[in-house]
Symmetry: C2
Subunit: 353 residues, 2 copies
């Protein structure tokens, strides 16, 4: 059917992953009464009982795409494969409870290597009190792959979606941004040095935080617990996996609102600034578009500001506006920079003008 | 760490997938109160409410290992990726409700190809009334891969495990066995003919059932519904993915019982017999070790026999004994054949003696 004469197949790159998901989302007809929310948020939502929802999310890491075994310790990889999934449950204001693990493993992986991978998976589960309840291990002819599905739970009244930000809400972000991206740049640089000279010792002095952010990210359970203690339910939330700019636009687009953030409010670690200088990259660009931060981006009512202001891990970076489709950053000298979803290149070229 | 001097890594083939799962099962400590059963059955079991359990299972299909795109239509592949997962939920005497789909797709796949794959996934979901609630699509540098996680539900009093077969129970199997394996042999033969001549038309005359069994297996929802209507709760159950012999030994081993089956009771379709003759393979061997049947193997109390005997899709093939670790088939002239788990080669060589 696909080989009919005159038929030219369309490459995936033409519509990309988001286009693909949008296409199928439209065709999917859900019929189970218990389905509250399907594709389109950090996790799917299923009715559990009168006062609780169950959350479910899945994330796959593919060798050569999401990780490079040249510089990724297997224990860290296992840990990260779990924590990036947990992050999706926290982003719904929920708590993860169980995971299943699917591994596709090639013949180059020894038992000892798989053991290291599993030790990392188990360490993350222990750290976040999550049970490993299922798994599937198959062989792979080429790359290794880890696919994890996480289940979680949330009180019905506390669930936080992406599409419910309201005008005048404050935009908050946890932790700091851009560090994981700089960690990756450092690792890639050392890899290429090593490939050329074959006996160089890696030089990561003063950048340990950046490496940790990339290799062993911790999801923000502490933030969810804090908000819960303070009786703050965010008005919308998403986790930052593809970069602040992209996630801000998700929240704005789905909530049909605009977003304004302030460059001088962006939380950036000094190590990130130093590394960015070294690589001659604008550290604001790292913070906006770096990705893999696994921090939480959320909005709260202005009335809740007093309840969160003492927490040094939460930063108010801007506010929600009524100007649908307008996503802006206020920079030095009150300059206005339009944020774009595929921010990296677009933003760079805009900055150069 | 893995590259220390004098360290020789152990290849995975040395302990195999089962060994691997056993190793990690021992190290996993579950702490969530809601976890009823983790790794070790067709699906994991979580408490849902007073009278219901939730079921969860995951299965991954890797290109080159589980499917060959030379002869697998993508729509069938999508369908099969779902139904092999649903089969695990039926094997717990439950009903599937939701799935999440993870795809890792390489650049050779066009949008139209992915569309076909998704059409198959959606067709299976519609057929079995299952909602698609989540997904993750990533790129892959080499093989394509589909990982599906299925959620299901079962009444607490009806859940059926693998380790609860009782002495004198009847051993039942649904449908027929060995057909998918012969379907695979036919497809592989035509592939090799095609590769040599490049213009041969495939010759599948009279074998359409075998191809369908391999390319588009249907899980046995009808059997679960029938047992439910008849108020029969199997005493143990497993789905047949790795071959009858292997699954029988699983039930026996976990239940600490023996198993006796009768060669002349094995349900084998005439097309399977014909194809086996053509390939000069013993059709009993196909039935015992073929795999990918996705039929249900279950045990029932003798008292329930009258309730199931009219169903032509259920076959009583033997009974459970008190002889732990003894798994036997009674063949022609009352000969006794010992069944082995890695049945294929072992059994073949035994037959030759």
């Amino acid at each position: 059917m696909l080989e009919e004469k005159g038929f030219s197949p369309t490459p995936l790159s033409k519509i990309g992953e988001f286009g693909l998901i949008e296409t199928f989302k439209k065709s999917i007809k859900n019929t189970q009464k218990s389905t509250i929310k399907g594709i389109g948020d950090d996790a799917a939502v299923i009715k559990k009982d009168k006062n609780h929802y169950q959350l479910i999310s899945t994330d796959t890491l593919v060798e050569g795409v999401h990780f490079d075994l040249v510089y990724t310790p297997l224990k860290h990889l296992g840990y990260k494969a779990v924590t990036v999934n947990l992050s999706d449950i926290f982003a719904m204001n929920g708590n993860p409870t169980h995971i299943t693990v699917s591994l596709a493993i090639n013949a180059r992986m020894s038992i000892e290597a798989i053991d290291e991978l599993y030790l990392g998976i188990m360490a993350a589960c222990e750290q976040y009190n999550v049970d490993i309840i299922g798994g599937d291990t198959t062989s792979s002819l080429a790359e290794n792959m880890i696919s994890i599905t996480v289940l979680g739970e949330v009180e019905k009244k506390k669930i936080t979606y992406r599409d419910t930000a309201q005008e005048n809400d404050l935009i908050c972000v946890s932790g700091d941004l851009g560090a994981a991206y700089m960690g990756l740049q450092l690792l890639e640089r050392e890899k290429s040095v090593f490939e050329k000279t074959n006996d160089a010792q890696p030089d990561f002095d003063g950048f340990d935080y950046l490496l940790r952010r990339f290799l062993k990210p911790e999801p923000r359970k502490d933030i969810i617990d804090f908000l819960n203690e303070q009786n703050v339910i965010p008005t919308s939330m998403i986790d930052i996996s593809d970069g602040l700019s992209s996630e801000l636009i998700h929240l704005g687009h789905l909530s049909k609102k605009g977003m304004v953030i302030y460059e001088n409010k962006l939380p950036i670690d000094p190590q990130t600034v130093n590394a960015a200088e070294m690589f001659k990259i604008n550290s604001t660009v790292c913070a906006l578009n770096g990705g893999e931060d696994y921090e939480l981006l959320f909005t709260i009512k202005q009335d809740d500001f007093n309840k969160i202001k003492e927490n040094s891990n939460i930063h108010v970076i801007g506010h929600v506006t009524g100007n649908e489709n307008q996503y802006q950053m206020v920079g030095a000298g009150d300059s206005i920079i339009e944020l774009t979803a595929q921010g990296w290149n677009a933003f760079l070229s805009q900055n150069k003008n």
